[in-house]
Point group: C2
Chain length 154, copies 2
Amino acid sequence: MQELDLEIDLEKSLGPWLGKTIKITDYYLHEAFQQHGLDISKEQMIVLGKLNKNDGLNQNEIADLIWRDKSSLARLLAKMERKGYIIKRQHEQDRRVNLVYLTESGREIFRKTRPIIQKAINILEMDLSKSEIKRMIEILKRIQDNFTKELKTL
Amino acid sequence: MQELDLEIDLEKSLGPWLGKTIKITDYYLHEAFQQHGLDISKEQMIVLGKLNKNDGLNQNEIADLIWRDKSSLARLLAKMERKGYIIKRQHEQDRRVNLVYLTESGREIFRKTRPIIQKAINILEMDLSKSEIKRMIEILKRIQDNFTKELKTL
DNA sequence: TAACTATGGTTGCATATGCAACTAATGGAT
DNA sequence: ATCCATTAGTTGCATATGCAACCATAGTTA
């Protein structure tokens, strides 16, 4: 009995379900990109998306936008540059800064990912009404705020 | 205009919010383990949890339970064995199989993670009623099912 | 001007992860 | 008994990630 009381039933908590949902979503995108012959990872696609919306960002700005460490981003960009999707240009005034630009090839591959992304969103929200989606996002935001607050007290 | 029409507003979709929520949850756990001097990662903690509930599983069984590739699990176990949290014993009848057992030290550190996990669950579900949690889990399950179905048609 | 500080980016070291190819062992079929 | 297929686990190669230490440049302060 006491042993049982100590058990935390993780499966009844939200955590693992969130994790598994992300996992299968990622897997779906990975498979779909592959099937369409797109040589790109989800993470790289996200970077292309930010640049597509706002070309010429510097590395730290991109890192912030996608919630990654700047070192992680630097390595992501290195791979993308090798594949010819982006180019880095040194800022003329401040030589510490690299401005990152989409190449034609990068813009092209991002364009090709769009219908796949749209389909993934459709699947994700297939059974949900607009208001349910809004509600879910609100809840997720609130969870994030709660963790942020608790982190400060650690 | 046409350019705008082509834009997908990812931020209004569920995907990135799920991702960010997981990210901050993971970060919280990581920080909390560190602050308590627990030399363990979230992934390792999950493995310990499965073994704590069901000692003597083999590697493939554990991999299935935590939705990881067997190779990923093998490496996780190697680290955990080095730290003395688990031991692997060859199955007596079937020498291909490794049965994995918690050590005392493994059981001990898992015990110490429990209040931290419980707190993380509390934070995660802080603003949610029981029925909302159930509803969220149902939705997440449905999303997973939808992706699973769509994967087959790829 | 020299010294100190802050910033942008890179690199070493570490974690976790998956796929594909591989080894070893098992079990069945001929 | 031998060959074949299956299964459990390992390993090579690749991705992505974060922290901390570092380098180079810029900006500020004495």
